[in-house]
């Protein structure tokens, strides 16, 4: 099984995010980490490799500092990595990012391509599905589990749906899956793994080389704005019974319970 895992480097969860001067993105001087859902995707890929053999390739589209997520992936057990580098990667929309991925792997054939469910920064949740479309491959999203599908060319997946519902689906490979978070426990990179990662291949290709840039965007972020302001607190007074009655009234009108 040859598996590609797409990882994104995003601002650390608790980093204070200040606006960049042009207000189109946040300032760069924060600490970064791997997008958590992608870490679960990597973990799933490594488990598939451990169970069925094969190769795991880690890929990221990002500036120079994003190489860190690839090094961590290699340290955890990925076999090689591909860095699609560009200083303005954050300006790419999901479509352009998907183009970057598919062009970077042109000429290679993977059995499975994993992405995380969505990114913690943009949160569009589309890149994986668009990659599938560009490759003409079947896809399934919000995957909880992957099993062999009866023969070498099929897999069976468990999808999560709303409200505690699930569904199994069978699809042929090559396929693209977006992986749900929290489906397994993330492994730690070991000292040995980190040491060995240095000798694993890390290929680099620039966005420019493959002709990808914000000019491919089909949508564009004009600017970031503060989240909508709250209108102010309505304090509800009276006896507990009165308060409860008033609150229920407000909730009915406001929230449509």
């Amino acid at each position: 099984m040859k598996i590609l895992v797409c990882l994104k480097q995003v601002p650390a969860k608790d980093a204070p995010l200040k606006l960049a001067p042009d207000a189109r993105w946040i300032r760069d001087d924060v600490s970064y980490e791997v997008n958590e859902p992608d870490a679960f995707a990597l973990e799933e890929a490594l488990r598939q490799k451990e169970a069925h053999g094969g190769e795991v390739v880690a890929l990221t589209v990002g500036p120079a500092r994003a190489a860190q997520v690839l090094r961590e992936a290699l340290a955890k057990g990925a076999d090689r990595a591909i860095h699609v580098e560009g200083a303005n990667a954050h300006l790419l929309d999901s479509y352009a990012a998907a183009e970057a991925i598919t062009r970077a792997i042109a000429g290679e054939s993977f059995d499975l391509i994993f992405t995380g469910l969505q990114s913690d920064d943009g949160g569009y949740g589309q890149t994986g599905v668009i990659v599938a479309e560009l490759l003409g491959a079947p896809h399934a999203t919000i995957i909880m589990r992957i099993e062999p599908g009866g023969d070498a060319k099929h897999i069976k997946v468990k999808r999560e749906l709303e409200s505690g519902n699930f569904q199994y689906a069978k699809l042929p490979t090559p396929a693209v899956l977006t992986i749900q978070s929290g489906i397994n426990k993330l492994r730690y990179a070991t000292l040995m793994g980190i040491k060995q990662a240095k000798n694993k291949p890390l290929a680099q290709v620039s966005l420019e080389e493959i002709g990808v840039g914000p000019n491919l965007n089909r949508q564009t972020v004009l600017r970031l704005v503060p989240p909508s302001k709250r209108k102010g607190t309505t304090m509800i007074t009276g006896t507990p019974k009165e308060q409860a009655a008033q609150l229920v009234e407000h909730l009915r009108n406001d929230v449509r319970l």
Partner: protein, 327 residues
Amino acid sequence: MILVITETKLTAPGKFNPASLEAVAAAQQLGAALQLPVAAVVLGADDAALAGELATRKLAKVVRLQNPALGAYNPDVWVQSLVQAVSQLQPRYVLFPHTYQVRDYAPQLATRMAGALISDVTGFRVENGQPIFLRPMFQGKWAAEVAFTANSAPGFLTVQIGAFRGDQAEAGAAAAPLETLAVTPGPSPLHAGEVFQEAKQAVDLTQAPIIVAVGRGIKEPKNLDLVRELAAALGGELAASRPICDSGWLPMDRQIGSSGQTVAPKLYLAVGISGAIQHLVGMKGSRTIVAINKDPEAPIFEVADYGVVGNLFDVVPALVTALKNQA
């Protein structure tokens, strides 16, 4: 015109996904702002009830897609069918509710039609006749104004669940015309099985539309039952601030805050939570926040829409009773 793609709810035959009405309301508002009529598409199993409901709304028409393959959701079938519908109906914008199902196929549909999908929209404004859409970024810490680039048409967008009110989907003066459109999706390599229910191992609070969170004010684990009752009465999920999970009174996957989950449900009820910043960052993006705390100075009131200063052991039972009575 603006086309709304609605969704029949997967597990309740005859019952449609209420998010569909929210999408209709959003489309009507966008349509009013852009002077564009709104039409709705219905596809999927048991679509008759949904089609009937939609026909009562102010819509140019309601189009039912027909093909036996639409009996069960399949992304390829949906995409191919909707490519046909969109190509036929030629809308300027295509709108969906941001459901799990839509997330599975809409990006593919948009890409196939050389368009873009702006997802999780919470609002919009119009500038120079062009819509600019608002969507959350960085897990709600910021919002972004996003627009389609000149060369993408039609424009696809999904609206955040709860961002628009389904009951504001304007009723029509007369019944909207009902049409059918036979679509011819090809076979799909993906074979989907039955949908089934399962008690999840870990709860995904980020998907819960209503959350009741409990903090130190609850004093003892045995008092959690009180709050559980409230959660049940509201149809919501139980969550907690860190000290509760730290003490093992609730499992860690119920924790909200910087070291737990970040949520933005349509209703967040904070019971006995003081509102330390570590907790606030995990929930302040919620649409409506209600706080119950006996300390009027508690920081939680700074982010609450509704504040109840009082003893939670009195207020919560009263609330449960009031909810049960009005049900």
